[in-house]
Every structure is written in structure tokens, then in C-alpha cells.
């Protein structure tokens, strides 16, 4: 029997001909990362272990992105720890404010994570890089410290679930809608410990930005990784960025899947996930009138150029509704620059939206857009748990940039069709 793409990547990095679901293996790690919340603990563990050197100073990225630009003294201290460690260990990839971007947008953009890689990050959305055809998964800080020392990690090989998307995408339906719909179908533990493999003619047509969005939210279904087989779209994206060689893997035709789930995307309309679970997704047209106070367009899920273009398309010549605060957060400096050069900022400013420097900020209730009790936000982010964007009595509704922009204009959760 053949192997899935996830199994092939793991086997290659374990030095094995073949691996099977459930098997415990130790693999070589191509790239690892941590942020300003998770790196401080990893650094502490690194020192506790008596380690003197990192395994490879070129393959560990520290990206302070969550509470930066430093929101308070404690956050400044955490970033200082990262900075000092990066200098001490000569880490090539430490990204200071001004060069920094949200880690899962930045590392693919910089060509630091590539197809065929095993990537381990002390951040649950590390699974984003599966959009490039890498095996990428989130771990805790202690696991990351071990990787920083040894360049290796143990895994239990996940069984794979294959998702096949067929049909034609309806107007305004994006990768975000597909993944929200999928999580709504299988639940927040529907792929627990599993590899989610996204396939089918619809995926083959998706842009790299949208593929990264889909893989990004695999963790929201409990998955170990999400993955999309690399193709020409991938090649075009990585060729101009790759800082080392890479390899394309694909699933064998006789690979074993625990489940194969097929969706007809003709049936899928723009989705909104109601609080407090990403699995509470509904067609936007099925919702009653839900007034909102804030819109956030950004994050590692939907802060890329295509997302900003989509928002701009809907905001052109329109205004954010009175009583609504619309925050737009380009995910990296390069995206920020490109959006500005394309004139998107003028559109956002004319619409009376605010534009922020890259930060995870409001997505996790850190800063730059915290909600008061009773306030409601539509966000292109990935989690709508209780208290996620601020007060425990505030609410987050997850949606695509198109739904978020339409909602900003109408002051309630709205479909782009309504504009």
C-alpha cells in the first residue's frame, strides 16, 4: 500500500522507507519557530537543559509578533529576552519591528519554509505551511526547546483524512469559507490527531494565499497538520523566494485514508462562525440581523495581500458604518508596502478604516482592538472562543475578508451580495 503526502514527508525525515499511522518516529526538523509568547519559556527550558548552542542558527526563527510593538513593560521584557538570545546565538532569523510580520505570513513570504519540509513551531497555527506542501505542526515551548538543541522531534504518525472539494465556487466564496464550512461539518475535534489533506479540483484552482488560509485553520478541527499537494501554483510562489532547495511530495494513488469526505462547493455560500466555536459555521444568509461594533481584517489566517485586495474591492467608494470600528492589519511589511503601492490604503482611509502595523494584536485579545463587555466583532481571524478578543462577555464572529468588509459597511453581519 502507498503512502499519503504527510506520511511520505515524515518517512523521508525519519530516514525510513515507510511509516504507518500510529507509529512513533523521530524526525529531522527543517525549520522551527517561536514568538514573543512562546519563546521565553523555550529559552528558559533551553537553559535548564544546560544547552550551550542551538543545533543550527539558520533554521530557528524568533518572530515577536503577538504583543508587538511592545504593548506594556512585561511584553517589552519578553521581546528583550528573545532579542538577547538571538544575538547570543547568532540567529539569522530574528525579525524586529519594522522587518517583522505575523510569523505564518512572514516565513512563507521569505522563503524560509518550503514544500516537503518538516516545520515545528511553538504556535498552534504553524500548520499554515501545509498550504505549501510541508508537514508543519504546532508544539509547546518545551518541545521547541528540545528541537532548538537537537534539531529533532518525536511524532506519532497521524492517520490522514482526505477532503475532496468539487464543483464551482459561488460568488464571494473563498478558502476561508471552505475551511469554516469543513470545521462546521466535522467539529472542533473532528480531525483530532489527524492529518487533513485538502484535495480536489477546487483546491487545485486556489491561490497560494487561500491555500495558506485553509491549512492555517486545520488546528481548529484538532488536526496535527493540514496539507495541500504542491503544484505549479506552489512552484511559482516558492521559486522566487526559496532560500534553499525544496522537494514536492504527493500522495500515492493507493494511499490509505481513515476517511474520505467529499464536498460539493456549489452548495457552499459565504460562511460565518458564531461564537464561541469555529465549528458554529452558518451560511451568512441564514443569520438574523446581528449588529456589530468592530471589524478586524488581518491575522495569520487572512492578513495577506489577496485578503486586503478583496476587502478593498468591497470598500471602494463606501464608508464604514457609523458606530463601527474597522481595523485593517496587513500581515507583513512587504504586504503593507504592496497594499500601499497598489492604492489599497487610500481606499481604506477613504472608507474611514484604520490601518495598523503588522501584529497578531486583537486576534488573541492582546492589544490594538480589545472588545468591551457586550461588544461584537466580525473578524477574519481563526478563533472565536469566549474572551478571545477581549472581555469574556464580548463576541467574535469569524468570516472571510469579503464578509468582514461588507459587515463593516452595513454595521451588521452581512453578505457581500447585499452591497
Amino acid at each position: 500500500m502507498g503512502m499519503t503526502i504527510s506520511e511520505k514527508i515524515l518517512a523521508a525525515h525519519a530516514g525510513s522507507e515507510k511509516v504507518e499511522p500510529g507509529e512513533l518516529i523521530e524526525v529531522e526538523v527543517d525549520f522551527s519557530l517561536a514568538n514573543d509568547i512562546t519563546a521565553p519559556i523555550a529559552i528558559e527550558r533551553f537553559r535548564q537543559a544546560g544547552a550551550k548552542e542551538v543545533y543550527d542558527a539558520g533554521r530557528i526563527a524568533f518572530v515577536p509578533d503577538h504583543f508587538v510593538p511592545n504593548k506594556d513593560i512585561e511584553s517589552a521584557l519578553q521581546c528583550q529576552l528573545l532579542r538577547e538570545f538571538a544575538v547570543e546565538h547568532k540567529l539569522t532569523n530574528f525579525f524586529e519591528v519594522g522587518r517583522m510580520g505575523i510569523e505564518h505570513a512572514l516565513l512563507p513570504e521569505q522563503g524560509l519554509v518550503l514544500p516537503g519540509d518538516v516545520v515545528v513551531g511553538a504556535d498552534s497555527h504553524t500548520c499554515t505551511y501545509g498550504g505549501l506542501g510541508a508537514f508543519a505542526t504546532g508544539v509547546g515551548s518545551t518541545d521547541l526547546a528540545a528541537v532548538m538543541i537537537t534539531g529533532r522531534i518525536w511524532f506519532r504518525v497521524p492517520a490522514s483524512i482526505k477532503f475532496v472539494y468539487q464543483g464551482n465556487l459561488q460568488p464571494w466564496v473563498t478558502g476561508k469559507d471552505l475551511i469554516l464550512y469543513t470545521i462546521g461539518q466535522i467539529g472542533v475535534d473532528g480531525a483530532r490527531y489527524r492529518a487533513m489533506e485538502f484535495t480536489g479540483p477546487v483546491i487545485a484552482q486556489l491561490s497560494m494565499d487561500q491555500r495558506l488560509t485553509m491549512a492555517n485553520m486545520a488546528i481548529e478541527a484538532g488536526a496535527k497538520n493540514g496539507i495541500i499537494a504542491p503544484d505549479e501554483i506552489t512552484r511559482v510562489y516558492v521559486d522566487e523566494r526559496a532560500q534553499r532547495s525544496y522537494r514536492f511530495y504527493e500522495s500515492d494513488s493507493d494511499a490509505h485514508y481513515e476517511q474520505v469526505i467529499t464536498y460539493d462547493v456549489n452548495e457552499i455560500e459565504p460562511q460565518v462562525a458564531l461564537p464561541p466555536s469555529p465549528a458554529n459555521s452558518r451560511p451568512v444568509s441564514s443569520l438574523d440581523e446581528i449588529p456589530i461594533h468592530q471589524v478586524v481584517i488581518g491575522s495569520c489566517t487572512n492578513g495577506r495581500l489577496e485578503d486586503l485586495r478583496l476587502a478593498a474591492e468591497l470598500l471602494t467608494g463606501r464608508r464604514v458604518a457609523p458606530g463601527v470600528r474597522c481595523l485593517i492589519i496587513p500581515a507583513t511589511q512587504a504586504i503593507y508596502r504592496q497594499a500601499m503601492d497598489e492604492g489599497l490604503f487610500a481606499i481604506f482611509l477613504e472608507a474611514e478604516a484604520a490601518i495598523s502595523t503588522p501584529t497578531c494584536g486583537p486576534c488573541l485579545g492582546g492589544h490594538m482592538g480589545i472588545l468591551a463587555p457586550g461588544e461584537r466583532a466580525v473578524a477574519t481571524t481563526n478563533r472565536n472562543f469566549v474572551g478571545r478578543m477581549g472581555h469574556p462577555e464580548s463576541e467574535v464572529y469569524l468570516a472571510s475578508p469579503a464578509v468582514a468588509a461588507a459587515s463593516a459597511v452595513l454595521g451588521r453581519i452581512a453578505s457581500p451580495e447585499e452591497l
Partner: protein, 169 residues
């Protein structure tokens, strides 16, 4: 290793933002984190929990972020063990890496209610509900994890195995 304590029952899909909200993650000090443990699921938990108490939850405990602050907060709050019908993957790893005992038992999770007195033996996976004289069997700890625990958690394990030359792959 035997533990005993009072049960605190929680529902399904308790996420890491409920265990330790991100607004408190500008520090990794265990004592500070413990003050806010489970705050968005039960605002009074951190004040009322006693040393050795046991969290009992339904399926998918610890879903969401990779923050190791979650098991750190639970352990620093004095919780002796978490029993759940199932655990989210990253939380599961983090708990072992931190030395926070966890047991998987859908049966115990479905039956135990807040306030009941529990006794459990990590080596056998047997959980005894002393309040109602009932016994539940938890899933045994996988062999690899037993080895990891035997060496004292991940850091001691790394110290023991460090020095493996990295091979190109």
C-alpha cells in the same frame, strides 16, 4: 504514583483561552498564571481550588493554542491531575512535558460530578470515586510516554540523549 482530591467538572472543548486567557500571557511566571487559571470557564476556580484537586472534563480538553502556559497554570494552581474523555493533541504533549499528570477516561468523565472525592493511581490508570464507591479505568499511558516520564520529562530526556550528531536528511 497515587493522587487524591476533589473533582471540578468542566464540559467539552475547554480551550486554552479558557484555561489561561491570552491577556495574561505577557508573563510566564507560574504564580501569576495560576491566579487566572480557568478564568473564562469559571471565574471563581482559581480562588476556590485546593491543592491536589482534580479537573474532570469532557472531550477535547485543551484545544486551541499551543501555549504551554495552560498546563503551567493548572499545575501551579495546585491541580494534581486532569481527567478528560479526550485531550487536544498539543495540550497532551505539553502536559507530559510539564509533568502535569493527565488521564484519558470517557467513562470517568461522563460520570464524575463536581465535589466528588477521587483517588487515582497513575501507574494502573484506575480511578476510584470514593463518594459513590465506583471505579473507572483510564487509558494506560503509552509506552513511549512512560519512558519520557521515567527520565523526568522532556528536558531531562533531552539532556540524556543530547549529542546525537545531526545527520543530513
Amino acid at each position: 504514583m497515587k493522587l487524591s482530591g476533589k473533582a471540578w467538572k468542566f464540559g467539552a472543548d475547554i480551550d486554552t483561552d479558557a484555561i489561561i486567557p491570552a491577556r495574561y500571557l505577557n508573563t510566564s511566571d507560574p504564580e501569576e498564571l495560576a491566579k487566572h487559571c480557568m478564568e473564562d470557564a469559571d471565574p471563581e476556580f482559581a480562588q476556590r481550588v485546593s491543592a491536589g484537586d482534580i479537573i474532570v472534563a469532557e472531550r477535547n480538553f485543551g484545544c486551541g493554542s499551543s501555549r504551554e502556559h495552560a498546563p503551567i497554570a493548572i499545575k501551579a494552581a495546585g491541580v494534581g491531575c486532569v481527567i478528560a474523555a479526550s485531550f487536544a493533541r498539543i495540550f497532551y504533549r505539553n502536559a507530559f512535558n510539564m509533568g502535569l499528570p493527565i488521564l484519558e477516561s470517557p467513562e470517568a468523565s461522563a460520570d464524575i460530578v463536581t465535589g466528588e472525592h477521587l483517588e487515582l493511581d497513575l501507574s494502573t490508570g484506575v480511578i476510584v470515586n470514593k463518594s459513590r464507591n465506583l471505579t473507572y479505568q483510564a487509558q494506560p499511558v503509552p509506552p513511549f510516554m512512560q519512558e519520557l516520564l521515567a527520565t523526568g520529562g522532556l528536558i531531562p530526556y533531552v539532556m540524556k540523549t543530547r549529542g546525537n550528531p545531526k545527520t543530513e536528511g
